[in-house]
């Protein structure tokens, strides 16, 4: 289901959708938008009945009414109340430069966003500019634990305002930003006090605008791994033992694989292989059982334990562990000899919290085959659209001098070829935000499209 392409002569009125829990500061921000001297005529649609004119602004009340379609697909769900209000608003003689739609703390931003793509009357005259989510720096962590709505609001956002930042300390804010970043790698995070910030962070953001470059925090695109540690060992053939002590978690994933040679590239390719292996479903390996080369294990490390390891061929091996070996006093023995790694490396872990909403970023050079790319993306959105909140990407397609850009909300995708690469190195940047994302599968799906 393609979204209507945006054209350079787009005269549709832009809309910002404002989400956030009660107490996050939405009303303060709305009042700021209405009272500030920005030279725009703004209409605000908020969640209480009534219509108030503030000087030359307008505030209209709305009551959430969700229209699901007969096929039950959440991607076709729209907001009936917004269709009524927006279409009537656009018939008035007084023209508004901008519309802000406030969505309640408990509202799902999906149907709000989809209204702008699915309903032809709305789509003809209005364009969704961005979804802005306010969070209360003090309360958001517990809201993320308890409320699915809070996680979805983070997932959909183009901009996250970390409000009441003055009530939290720096360590708390940094930790919070990292967590929000792991859930939504494409949103811009801005710290605010009393929702005070220049309005260009909220209006005319261009979150759905393909013409504007994909702005993703480069730090986010630094790959995250399902393991915290990897090391190489030179092993003789024969019996070995892996010993562990009780640590902070009851189980720990472990994966050992043989390297083709002793070159550093062999370790790099083992990292990629391990990345895919770590998403395999895996039963628990109990104390006394064996570790098998090439397979993923989840070791029972609730108490001190040891696991047999038989090495068939001598050579260099790579070992990857979910947590750092010292947390479990993990050690590899051959008889009475402790074997030290020949090299080791720590990896940036991906799941600091057990948030169901995560982001997966892919940043890779190389040209893509357009047929395979289309097939992959279409299948991905069709099969997983319900769990994918937002996706964006800038892609290098083989044989085309232009950047290919796409974005999607659930299953609704919008794609086009934009400006030339020119002197910029050709590169692919993609980001997926959703539930139950499988980094390994996304990565292999992407790589299978490389020409």
């Amino acid at each position: 289901m393609p979204i209507q392409p945006t054209t350079p002569t787009d005269s549709r009125v832009p809309v910002t959708v404002l989400t956030g829990f009660l107490g996050s500061g939405k009303t303060t921000l709305l009042n700021r938008i209405l009272s500030e001297n920005h030279g725009k005529r703004i209409a605000v649609i908020e969640n209480e009945f009534g219509e108030v004119g503030v000087d030359h602004e307008l505030v209209i009340g709305a009551e959430e009414e969700i229209f699901e379609m007969n096929n039950g697909c959440i991607c076709c769900t729209v907001r009936g109340d917004l269709i009524r209000i927006l279409t009537n608003l656009m018939k008035r003689r007084e023209r508004f430069d901008y519309i802000v739609v406030e969505s309640t703390g408990l509202a799902d931003p999906g149907p709000v966003a989809q209204t702008f793509f699915m309903d032809d009357e709305v789509r003809d005259r209005l364009k969704l500019d961005a979804i802005v989510t306010l969070v209360d720096a003090h309360h958001i962590e517990s809201q993320l634990e308890h409320a699915m709505e809070a996680r979805e609001q983070i997932a959909f956002a183009d901009v996250i305002l970390l409000n009441k930042a003055d009530l939290a300390d720096e360590a708390q804010l940094t930790r919070l930003e990292q967590r929000l970043r792991s859930m939504n790698g494409q949103a811009k995070i801005v710290r605010t006090q009393q929702a005070s910030l220049p309005l260009e962070h909220v209006l005319d953001v261009g979150g759905f605008d393909l013409q504007r470059a994909l702005l993703v925090d480069p730090q986010f695109l630094e790959a995250e791994y399902p393991f915290e540690w990897g090391g190489t060992f030179d092993l003789e053939s024969g019996a070995h033992v892996v010993r562990t002590a009780a640590g902070p978690d009851p189980t720990m994933k472990l994966h050992l694989r043989r390297l083709d040679d002793a070159l550093p590239t062999a370790f790099e390719s083992a990292v990629e292989q391990a990345l895919r292996r770590f998403s395999d479903p895996v039963p628990v390996t109990e104390c006394g059982e064996s570790i098998v080369e090439g397979r993923l294990h989840r070791l029972d490390v609730a108490t001190d334990a040891q696991f047999a390891l038989h090495i068939a061929d001598a050579g260099r091996y790579a070992l990857f562990t979910e947590h750092l070996p010292e947390e479990f006093d993990l050690a590899l023995w051959r008889g009475n000899a402790l074997i030290a790694p020949t090299s080791e490396r720590e990896f940036k872990p991906d799941h600091e919290h057990d948030d169901t909403v995560t982001s997966v970023g892919i940043s890779q050079p190389g040209d893509l085959d357009s047929t395979r790319l289309n097939a992959w993306l279409s299948k991905l959105l069709r099969d997983q659209g319900q769990d994918l909140f937002r996706c964006k990407g800038v892609l290098s397609v083989q044989g085309d001098p232009r950047r290919h850009v796409f974005q999607a909300v659930h299953m609704l995708m919008d794609a086009s070829a934009e400006r030339l690469w020119g002197d910029t190195p050709r590169h692919n940047t993609l980001i997926f935000i959703g539930r139950n994302l499988d980094r390994g599968a996304l990565l292999s799906g992407f790589e299978a499209c490389l020409a």
Partner: protein
């Protein structure tokens, strides 16, 4: 390639283009009878039963009366803050009812505006008003509620049970024995007199528009999900039409009840209720190249009028074929149309506030 609109069970993929505008049709002309300007987007209009006046609801809230229709002048009756949503001439020809975003129902006297009455309905837009065919009742939809009034005294006959979602359309059956309300969840049939029973015709999507077959044997509802549901009464057997390009708000039955005309895209589809429509393909009337905005059949004659965002008024006569009999170019994008009670004049509302009156003439095809 032919457009494949169909009734449930058939292939439902909407087809494309075809030889649009290829038929030999008189060149679009503008032989306007008259044009009046109310100065705001025309949301709705309603002819007086004597065919001499038109009442108009405007997007900025104005309610207007055009006495002597085409000859003007335009008289402003009142104002709904935030916008007017609906207007209806009473069956007695002496009163006009209107509703709007301010949640009020207003009743104006045609003769002079001093005797206006305003009733506040709580917490909602007053989206629809409808007079019963015998003129004795006035039904009003406000949000999720239907209120039935005595049309003369405006005393409340019944506050009907609240519907689960906002009412999108309201229409009395031609025999006046039932009132239908469309909403997200289906169509509710309300008995407009004691004991005021309700009967739900369920549909899992959002119903946006309603049209009763003249003999009240079928009620059709246009949907947000680009379908038309219809129920055969009294049993309530349901079937659906699919394959529309967009949501369907445009529905109109011809005088005999044989043809249901539908919009929901650039083409007008005619569904034959004499032989079907179950298992049959509709006749597609192709000429507009923008979405159809409004449809209307003559009350006694056989002509169908359609207006679309291509700013054309087309006159069709299904007896004489699938090409339009006449095409008229409009000056602004149309929003609504209504035939005069004597079938002679069409009143067409426009986005720029124009009311255009056209007396269509049939040319030999």
């Amino acid at each position: 390639m032919s457009e494949r609109r169909s009734v449930t069970g058939e292939s439902a993929a909407p087809g494309g283009g075809g030889a649009r505008q290829a038929a030999a049709v008189p060149t679009a002309r503008v032989p306007l009878h008259a044009r009046l300007d109310v100065g705001e987007h025309v949301i709705a209009l309603s002819w007086s039963p004597d065919g001499r006046a038109v009442a108009v609801a405007g997007a900025d809230g104005g309610v207007y009366l055009l006495e002597n229709a085409a000859d003007g002048p335009v008289r402003r009756l009142g104002q709904h803050v935030g916008g007017a949503l609906t207007v209806a001439f009473a069956t007695d020809g002496a009163h006009i009812a209107s509703g709007g975003q301010d949640g009020t129902l207003r009743l104006f006297t045609r003769a002079h505006t001093a005797s206006e009455r305003t009733l506040e309905l709580p917490e909602s837009w007053t989206g629809q008003v409808a007079f019963s065919p015998d003129g004795r009742q006035l039904a009003v939809a406000a949000g999720r509620r239907i209120v039935l009034y005595d049309a003369r005294t405006l005393s409340v006959l019944n506050h009907c049970a609240l519907l689960p979602a906002t009412i999108e359309a309201l229409s009395f059956a031609p025999d006046g024995r039932q009132l239908a309300a469309a909403f997200y969840g289906g169509v509710m049939l309300q008995t407009p007199y004691a004991p005021f029973g309700q009967r739900l015709l369920p549909w899992t999507g959002a119903c946006l528009a309603l049209a009763w077959r003249p003999d009240a044997s079928v009620i059709a509802a246009g949907g947000q999900d680009a379908s038309v549901q219809f129920w055969r009464l009294p049993k309530g057997r349901q079937a659906a039409m699919h394959g529309f390009a967009k949501k369907v708000r445009e529905l109109a039955w011809n005088r005999t009840g044989r043809w249901l005309a539908t919009g929901g895209g650039d083409d007008v589809a005619l569904w034959d209720f004499k032989t079907g429509p179950e298992g049959c393909m509709p006749r597609n009337l192709r000429y507009h190249d923008e979405p159809v905005v409004a449809l209307g059949w003559q009350r006694r004659g056989g002509w169908l009028a359609s207006v679309a965002r291509d700013r054309l008024l087309l006159i069709w006569d299904p007896v004489r074929g699938d090409a339009p009999l006449a095409a008229y170019r409009l000056l602004s994008s149309p929003t609504t149309l209504a035939w005069s009670p004597d079938d002679q004049l069409l009143a067409i509302g426009g986005e720029d506030g124009e009311i255009t009156f056209i007396q269509p003439e049939a040319k030999a095809p």
